[in-house]
């Protein structure tokens, strides 16, 4: 019978040594510097940004984080909050939806042999070779025929598509879910769906969480799709909203108000939900049940 152990002991892990920690440290600094810049810049006003006293990486003498936050949330009747709400909506529904579709499809490709499987799989790969730029206008035409352009569906529906997610799931499933386990369940009389939910899915958890995280982040960061599909600024996700402010700040004035400080602090705040998502999801990576032995 199969034995299942929870939370593997990871006995292959060695005690952390200096070199690996140094390497990680260098990476952390490299990845952190621009974020640190963002944090520091969020406390400055427009003048401090461009002619600040202490340079780009340290705080200006005029520390105004609260003021910037206040401006951010009150500008244009709080459109920023609406944009964040939109991003949440798109990312969660698009991300979860894409994950569900990818998990099902990946499982299907990995664990079922059917005619045309390899061909379909190859077509899937071939279809992503043409850049999405070519698809914008045809998709727009199609959605406008349905009256769906300039609605949330124009962003959510295309976001459900994640060919990379399908491929990833397929690879993970092929590695992590043994055929024998599935056959055992089938012979025990379980239908395909039950086999999937009760046997395969728990084994796929780290992979599912990975695809979920990547889909959420990918949809959250999506810029050109919503830019092309939406013209109502109330529906913009945060990426398009900040892009709009950046355009206004660069070549226009904000009606006398400098938008740069809003852009900077808006950028900083917009990263926070994704950090939360990452921290929430990452604990599922290591709790995956793994097989002890199937001999």
């Amino acid at each position: 019978m199969t034995t299942v152990t929870a939370a593997p002991s990871r006995t292959h892990r060695t005690r952390p040594n200096v070199i690996t920690h140094l390497f990680l440290g260098v990476l952390v600094v490299y990845f952190l510097v621009p974020i640190w810049f963002l944090i520091v810049a969020s406390t400055k006003d427009a003048h401090g940004l461009f002619a600040g006293s202490a340079g780009a990486l340290w705080f200006d003498k005029n520390f105004d984080l609260i003021g910037n936050l206040r401006d951010l949330f009150t500008f244009n009747d709080g459109i920023y909050l609406r944009w964040i709400g939109n991003s949440l909506l798109y990312a969660l529904s698009g991300g979860v939806g894409a994950t569900v579709l990818s998990v099902l499809a990946g499982y299907g490709f990995a664990k079922f042999r059917f005619r045309g499987r390899n061909l379909t799989f190859a077509i899937l790969l071939g279809s992503v070779m043409v850049p999405l730029t070519a698809l914008v206008i045809p998709t727009f035409i199609f959605l406008s025929q349905l009256g769906l352009t300039d609605t949330i569906w124009a962003v959510i529906l295309p976001s459900l598509l994640s060919p990379f997610g399908v491929y990833l799931m397929r690879v993970y499933v092929a590695e992590a879910v043994p055929d024998e386990l599935l056959d055992a369940a089938r012979l025990d009389g379980a239908g395909e769906l039950r086999t999937f939910f009760q046997v395969a899915l728990p084994l796929m958890r780290p992979a599912v969480v990975t695809v979920l995280l990547l889909s959420i982040v990918g949809t959250w960061n999506n810029y050109f799709l919503p830019l092309a599909m939406l013209s109502n600024s109330n529906l913009y996700p945060i990426t398009v909203g900040i892009g709009l402010w950046e355009g206004l700040a660069s070549s226009n004035n904000g009606g006398g108000q400098s938008l740069w400080s809003l852009i900077i602090i808006g950028s900083l705040i917009s990263i926070i939900p994704l950090i939360v998502a990452f921290l929430t999801l990452q604990k599922y990576w290591q709790n995956g049940l793994t097989l002890g032995s199937l001999k």
Binding site: S127, P131, L135
Partner: protein
């Protein structure tokens, strides 16, 4: 443990030599149900795929067979647009750039990401967990905002780079100038995407059965040997997958140069990469037919590139079958 109950389905037919019609039809109907189940799992994704990828693609292909002049109307030109594309110096320059960029960027990116993922898989200290978040963070930053930040950081007037160089009395190089743009973009892209690859590789590493490590340890394998002789080969299909998609994505390079363009003092031309060229043709020059053709021409180049890569790595494991 093997007993009749766990024998794979396919074997059943072989052990019985009775009425062949019976088990052939039983096997076929089982197989058919099996096939059907497979299709059903794929169906939801397939539906969205056909509606939002295949159909628009077909329409774009159709449009690419026509030529539209601003002064004249739209006429059918067959493959005329494609001939034009492959002899278009703007397109070819762009192709040359993305090929060079891919050949340098992808190995660097993969090396960094793989090393980071292997280290993170090995170490469980609190610092390692913190590093994991930090490595992921740039991926969480949308390219639009990332470009904004790098714009400030690369700025010759008030970026930290300039501050550093002024300490030694030199003028900092402008990382977005035509000579430096290659490195400047490489830096931005590596920074932006390393976390993405680390997550995928890390998850793949988590799926490896840890008892293998025990066996290896008993055999006296060092950490490095475990890493390179066991871990990497075991995730090779995931690695190849990532490399293929990285190749596709880099040949279709668009976002970073597009958003950095306004601050690059003219370095990013309207045809800097083929994808940018297609974008400008479609949305700023109103030449959508030719833009479609350029997109498909790029797709052809990508196909060739991926085919070559898969051919070269066919022995290392494939994710395609």
């Amino acid at each position: 443990m093997t007993d009749a109950g766990t024998l794979p389905v396919e074997n059943l037919g072989q052990n019985r030599r009775g009425s062949s019609v019976d088990h052939r039809s039983r096997r076929t109907s089982r197989e058919r149900k099996h096939s059907l189940a497979g299709w059903l799992f794929i169906a939801p994704f397939g539906a969205v795929f056909v509606i939002f990828l295949v159909a628009p693609l077909a329409y774009a292909l159709y449009l690419s067979l026509f030529t539209k002049g601003l002064a004249t109307g739209t006429t059918f030109s067959g493959f005329g647009n494609y001939v034009k594309a492959f002899t278009d110096p703007s397109f070819l320059k762009g192709i040359w750039f993305v090929i060079r960029f891919s050949l340098v960027l992808i190995p660097v990116q993969m090396a960094v990401s793989l090393a980071a993922a292997l280290v993170l898989d090995n170490v469980t200290s609190r610092f390692a967990r913190f590093s994991r978040l930090m490595i992921f963070l740039p991926y969480a930053v949308p390219a639009v905002i990332g470009a904004l930040m790098w714009g400030f950081l690369y700025s010759p007037s008030f970026g930290p780079l300039q501050q550093l160089f002024s300490l030694i009395g030199q003028k900092a190089p402008f990382l977005l100038s035509p000579t430096n743009i290659f490195g400047g973009l490489m830096n931005v892209v590596t920074w932006q995407w390393a976390g993405y690859y680390v997550i995928i590789i890390f998850a793949a590493l988590q799926g490896i059965d840890p008892t293998i490590y025990e066996a290896a340890k008993i055999d006296g394998a060092s950490t490095r040997q475990v890493a390179f002789r066991i871990k990497v080969p075991m995730i090779s299909s995931a690695l190849i997958l990532i490399l293929v998609f990285a190749l596709i994505g880099t040949l279709q390079f668009f976002t970073e140069p597009q958003v950095l363009g306004p601050i690059a003092n003219g370095t990013i031309t309207p045809y800097f990469t083929p994808n940018i060229y297609a974008f400008n043709l479609a949305f700023t020059y109103a030449q959508f037919n030719y833009a479609s053709a350029i997109s498909f021409a790029l797709g052809i180049v990508v196909f060739i590139g991926v085919y070559i890569f898969l051919f070269l790595t066919r022995k290392r494991g494939s994710f395609l079958s």
